[in-house]
């Protein structure tokens, strides 16, 4: 019998605000433990939360980017539970009136497109971080009160590959919107995975297992690759799945049941009395909508039509917004989009990868790359020289025209000088010359190479080739 998996995700995203959600403490990772704290985020009695309007805007912006309806009336609720990393013994969250409802994210797996539905997006506060010391645990509240957006999907995902594709697509959108840094190492994006399997032909979903707190996309993928067959195996051998929470052990490559709680969760949500409801006028929402960036899927289509790029190239370029921006700037400044795309896709991405750096930290500017492209187009330098210059521009920055001048790299297109080199090369290499004349065409490349060497790489290769063909007769 075949078993069909059903997967839903809950993604927690730390929003990119300057201050925390309910107080003015800095919302930034790192820092010595308990140095970004105040009476509000430490949960002191008598303190009152004060909502950061930017957190509301970023959540709504996210909703608008993935086609959610913005709830005309939204409110905060208290979720009550005890855990040492949560100082108030309740978490301010949203229960029945979240900021955003509905929506979807388009994914593509093995050429098949599909929309993964979004149930809702709500806003809540992050909790502190705990560390374990032998017989006790330590808590750092720097992260407590960081604005956290929870995106809940419909159970529309059917394979581990789709789950991974969804997370990548969502991350790309969040980065485009400037909503979150989406830095996985820093825990900006964390994910709970709900999954079940059911026999083909059964419409009712199987019993759901939750895998908690995954912080890498690879982890989600591998956990599902392991967990779905495990559930199938239990059912095949006549067993039953018990609803439980499991944890993915990355080193062992297995999911394990977490110590089952004595009681099922009973959070006793009730409206947060300290916070007033959020009622967003349609004009405000429309104003925010007008600031939305062009989303990756749309940009990809535009790069194809506007610059005549192949689909694949456009896909590579839009994967990272900074790279796509850099490409467009270079394309416009150089007037040669195809060359700009080639440089960005090969040399720029390779150097970024080798240096483990990002465009914003690189010395290379779109202006200097465009200058380099123009120098090649105007035949001032040849491509190998341009490649050499590129490395220098990437490392140190600078103006390519100046560099060509100071280094004397301008290409030799002067026929007189080239003729002299060509005559020398022909005289010094009678063998290849004879080969070429006997019809061995590749011998010409050897001679071109000799001339390039004589010119110390500065000869215009096409002119050299034409010159040799003329001198040796026959094309």
């Amino acid at each position: 019998m075949k078993y069909l998996p059903t997967i839903g995700l809950e993604i927690h995203v730390q929003l990119k605000t300057r201050s925390k959600i309910f107080c003015g403490c800095p919302n930034e990772p790192g820092g010595e433990p308990n140095t970004h704290v105040c009476p509000v985020c430490l949960g002191y009695p008598g303190t009152l939360p004060n909502v950061n309007g930017e957190a509301i805007r970023l959540t709504v912006l996210t909703g608008l980017m993935i086609g959610c309806r913005i709830n005309p009336y939204s409110k905060f609720d208290r979720k009550n539970y005890f855990y040492p990393d949560m100082p108030k013994n309740y978490q301010i969250s949203q229960y029945d009136k979240p900021l955003c409802l509905g929506g979807s994210v388009e994914i593509e797996v093995e050429g098949r497109k599909k929309a993964v539905g979004i149930t809702r997006i709500h806003l809540e506060e992050d909790v502190g971080k705990s560390m374990h010391f032998g017989s006790s645990s330590g808590v750092d509240f720097n992260r407590a009160g960081a604005p956290l957006m929870e995106i809940v999907t419909e159970p529309d995902i059917e394979t581990p590959e789709e789950a991974q594709a969804f997370l990548l697509a969502l991350r790309q959108i969040l980065l485009y919107g400037g909503v979150s840094d989406c830095n996985l190492e820093q825990g900006n994006l964390r994910c709970d995975v709900n999954c079940s399997v059911r026999p083909e032909g059964q419409s009712e979903l199987g019993t759901k297992i939750e895998i908690k707190n995954m912080n890498t996309f690879k982890g989600v993928f591998h956990a599902l690759k392991h967990e779905l067959p495990r559930q199938e195996e239990v059912l095949r051998s006549g067993g039953a799945i018990r609803q439980e929470t499991r944890r993915w052990d990355d080193e062992k490559g297995v999911t394990e049941a977490m110590r089952s709680k004595e009681y099922a969760h009973d959070y006793r949500y009730f409206p947060e009395p300290d916070l007033m409801p959020v009622v967003l006028p349609p004009e405000t929402v429309e104003q925010w909508r007008a600031t939305l960036p062009e989303l990756p899927a749309k940009r990809r289509d535009r790069l194809v039509t506007e610059y005549g790029l192949p689909d694949y190239d456009a896909g590579v370029l839009v994967a990272d917004k900074a790279v796509a921006d850099f490409f467009e700037e270079t394309a416009r400044a150089s007037g040669n989009p195809k060359a700009a795309s080639n440089w960005v896709m090969t040399d720029v991405l390779r150097c970024l990868g080798e240096k483990q750096t990002e465009l914003k930290d690189a010395k290379l500017t779109s202006v200097s790359l465009a200058g380099l492209i123009r120098l090649v187009d105007q035949k001032v330098i040849n491509v190998p020289t341009a490649r050499e210059l590129f490395s220098e521009l990437f490392e140190k920055g600078g103006d390519p025209t100046e560099l060509v001048k100071t280094k004397g790299l301008a290409q030799v297109s002067d026929t007189g000088a080239l003729e002299a080199y060509a005559d020398e090369a022909i005289a010094e290499n009678p063998g290849p010359v004879a080969d070429y004349r006997a019809g061995k065409k590749p011998a010409l490349q050897f001679l071109v190479g000799q001339i390039m060497k004589k010119s110390r790489g500065k000869a215009n290769p096409r002119m050299v080739q034409e010159l040799l063909q003329r001198k040796l007769g026959g094309a």
Binding site: S19, N34, F82, P84, H132, F133, S136, V139, Y263
Partner: protein
């Protein structure tokens, strides 16, 4: 709202509620509080007799909404002050009994 307050929960176990609040009740206390809890719940249940068809749930009594703060960093507590209430401290952190997952 949640299971605790479900309308059809004819009897709410006081020990369950006490556990949620991390309160330890002696047998005597449980015996006293169980009927009291039921009395309170019975009183609240009288609301169930009202016809609230078409009435919006009221979360707040004040007609105030959209109270937001600008996204600005403001000074908080310095580390020493923040740790003053910690019964135990280690490496700048609040020490709590070992958390077991």
């Amino acid at each position: 709202m949640t299971d605790t307050f479900r309308d059809d929960a004819s009897r709410l176990d006081v020990r369950y509620v006490a556990h949620l609040a991390r309160l330890h009740l002696s047998d005597e206390e449980a015996a006293v509080f169980q009927p009291q809890l039921e009395q309170v719940l019975g009183y609240v249940r009288e609301l169930g007799a009202l016809d609230v068809e078409g009435v919006e749930p009221t979360a707040h009594a004040f007609p105030v909404q959209n109270v937001f703060r600008d996204d600005e960093v403001r000074p908080g507590l310095d580390h020493e002050a923040a740790m003053k209430n910690a019964p135990q401290e280690r490496q700048g952190q609040f020490i709590v009994p070992k958390i077991i997952e």
